[in-house]
Symmetry: C2
Subunit: 88 residues, 2 copies
DNA sequence: GTATAATTTAGATAGTTGTCTAAATATCTA
DNA sequence: TAGATATTTAGACAACTATCTAAATTATAC
C-alpha cells in the first residue's frame, strides 16, 4: 500500500473515528452506523476506502458483514510514516 | 493545529515532495517551482496549504519569498500521530 | 518614477469526494 | 419459496480541490 493511499484514507475524520471504534471491538456495518449521523451507504463508502487502504478487513457472518481493524499492517504504516518524517 | 488539517496537508504527493525538498535547504518559491511540472500559482496554492497547516514558514528576502520547513512543529505532529495510532 | 522580476491573488474550470435516495444482492426464517 | 433483514451498488448532485491564465502586489534597478 502506498503512503499516498494510506494518508488519504486517514485524512478524513469519519474514517479515523471508524478506526477508533473498531479498535474496541469488531462490529457489523449496521452497528458501526449507530455511531454516525450518516446513511449506511455513505458509511459503506468510507468502509470501502479503508478497505482499499488495507486498514480494515471484513468478513460475512450470516446476514451481517463484520469489520475489523487490520492490525497486521499498522506496524508497516507506522514504519512508512517514520521513514517519511525522517526525511524531514 | 488539528490532526485533521495536518493529515489533509500531508495527503498530497506534491506537498510531501515540497517538504522533502525544503528539508535539504530553504528555497524561494521560484526555485522550488523548478522541481515541479506545474505553474507557480498552482505551487503557491500548495505552499499556502502547507503554511495553513503550520508545516512551513515563509519570509521575504528582497523580491523573493523564502520557504522553510517548520521543524519546530514536527515533534508535535509526530506526537499526535503516535497518540492516534496508540488508540488503534 | 518606470520597467523588470518574483510571487500571490482572483476567477474560471475540470476532476474528485462525500453524501443522498433508490435499487440490487445476499442471507436467514417461517 | 416468500418475506424480512443487512449491506452494497448505482446514479445523481453539491462541495471541495488542483489546476490554469490573467491581473495585482511587492521589491529592485535604472
Amino acid at each position: 500500500m502506498t503512503l499516498n493511499i494510506t494518508l488519504q484514507a486517514l485524512s478524513d475524520p469519519t474514517r479515523r473515528k471508524i478506526l477508533e471504534i473498531l479498535k474496541k471491538k469488531d462490529l457489523a456495518a449496521g452497528e458501526l452506523g449507530k455511531n454516525f449521523d450518516m446513511t449506511l451507504p455513505s458509511l459503506s463508502h468510507h468502509l470501502n476506502v479503508l478497505k482499499q487502504a488495507d486498514l480494515v478487513t471484513s468478513r460475512r457472518r450470516g446476514q451481517e458483514i463484520i469489520y475489523s481493524l487490520n492490525l497486521s499492517v499498522f506496524e508497516e504504516i507506522a514504519e512508512k510514516l517514520i521513514k517519511f518524517f525522517k526525511k524531514l
